[in-house]
Amino acid sequence: MAKPQQKDARRNVRTALACASLVAGMVGLAYASVPLYKLFCQVTGLGGTPGIEAAAPEQATDIDFTVRFDANINPTLPWTFKPVQRAVNLKLGEEGLAFYTATNNSDHPITGTATFNVTPLKIGQYFVKIDCFCFTEQTLQPGETVDMPVTFYVDPEIRQDRSTEEVTTITLSYTFYPKKSETDGQVSALKQKSTPVDIGG
């Protein structure tokens, strides 16, 4: 018939600290998930994340493939952004070159950044970019138009992989955003246009 004693109290505190360290660990994992998530997608190509390599393989294959191009602009960016060509037909392993064109329709210089992905999502690891305008920020002067290149290839391994062997067309998509620090004034102005219902705040 034991009463709780001093050493029981210390044991309790030790157990509690062990629990607290689990809590701290999980918070750490939550924050670690941010870079880990990006890393995981880059390494596996999941989510349609393209790979990056320095050059195409030396020997291209003889297999035909199509790469389509898609362009989106965030409504807060007063640019026109389109692919120059709708699609490119090339061989697997062959280095391809495509252009996008962007025009700054406003009256002040704007810097844009682009997000991108490829579809179908499962071929991410087989679509490899060699050089891309998305690797750097793009600054356009008012009224300026630039052609932005992207060089890439499709890894012939795509035909070896049972889950991707039936794919014959890949779509590469970009979405251009204004560089974040530039949006603040513009966002509320644009909100009037695109979200006409006033939800207060």
Binding site: N12, Y37, K122, G201
Partner: protein, 542 residues
Amino acid sequence: MANAADAHAHDDHGDHYPGFFFRWFCSTNHKDIGTVYMFVSMFAALVGGGMSWFMRLELAEPGLQYLTGGAPDMQFYNVLLTAHGFLMVFFVVMPALIGGFGNWFVPLMIGAPDMAFPRMNNISLWLLIAGLALLLISAFVGSGVGTGWTVYPPLSSSIYHPGAAVDFGILSLHLAGASSILGAINFIVTIFNMRAPGMTLHKMPLFVWSILVTAFLLLLALPVLAGALTMLLTDRNFGTAFFDPAAGGDPVLWQHLFWFFGHPEVYIIILPAFGLISQIVSTFSKKPVFGYLGMAYAMVAIGVVGFVVWAHHMYTVGLDVDTRAYFTAATLVIAVPTGVKIFSWLATMWGGSIEFKTPMLYAFGFIFLFVMGGVTGVTLANSSADLVFHDTYFVVAHFHYVMAIAAIFAMFAGWYYWIGKMSGKQYNETLGKIQFWMFFVGVNILFFPQHFAGLAGMPRRIPDYPDAYAGWNYVSSVGALITAVGTMLFFWILYRTYAAGTKAEQNPWGEGATTLEWHVPSPAPFHTFEDQPDMSGKQPAE
């Protein structure tokens, strides 16, 4: 056996209670804290329930009758459905089962005098109340939180929800989460370190097992929510871009983090209910639970597997096909330990001598209705089938069957089972049975037709619907009315029990009630088991 435990059941201090303010606002007593948790839960249930009854009122007929089509009213509807979800999950079910019944009966069932950290217990309670206050305040700040309880960005970002409402909501959840984390630590330490001598883990009642597993889930899942909420808070206010694609973030990352918490959360809700049902089924069948070890470890399995299935809430987000295939398979796996529990309850009742008093009616109803909710879960587990079900009323029907019906049935069952022990007054059995049947009929009429609406394609989170969905929506709203009346009847019974209930016996349930709380008087004295009983000779607990 009974006498040895009874001898240590309460001390000789003469049950000296603190003054009113000190007793209820600065409590370090697990019973009093448990009682306050239950009243907080009931208050939140009325608010959250009131919101849902208003929504059902609006949805009873096509067209907008009580709201206008203008943006403020549409935002109001979204605020209601968001608050309804938060209230029910964080401020009704969890405080009732874990804060309420857990605090009251875990120490009693293991023969401990109180929780390991009684003051931290009180901190948990008041953190929860503060969290509730912040949530209610958020509805009056700016345009309120109209994002759904899932709070997905970009809708929850500062662009699409300007003002401070979402920030209030985030802080509310931080406080509620902190409350639960501290409570989880308290339960784990109490259960591991303060069991009466001779009560090994394999002799603990299954309700205690359920709270132990739940506490570990809380410990591992809530911090991830806290991290995600903080990321959203800094995205909204301090220029970070975790979830903003404009600056390299990803809205889908929020969904991964939220559901990594969110799926274990639903097991946090249901596992204590499982434990409670085991106690009640055993008591009223006058038999020990069938397959005790299987039951305990099935709960552990459900808890563990529950951590690796989160993306079944994200099947239509744009996940790779192999990812969806994995989550389909993993989600189907959970049906196995759950099935073990269902069959074990049936086997417990089989051969028993069952008295269908109100707690047993609710437990019986729980088993059947949880099975109904569970099978629609099997349908939803399939990512291919989910193509037609995601974000429809089929999902709404599924989770309300397992949460609003099953978990709430467990809450009622626990109240009827234990109110005599908690208050010293017993409820009126006839009224209890009437309330059960009214509530049972009400919730089934309320939620069963929603399966049909969802199958037919009605999306969720909408205040008005194409005319074809009118029929089932009307029926569902009638069910809501009946449920509301059944709920009011419960509160009437609550009042009558406290005001004029008959004196409760120490053990009103007979030979089937074998756990330690039946060895203390009713109401349970302020201090119990100051001297812990020796349980070494005892058989494994039922």
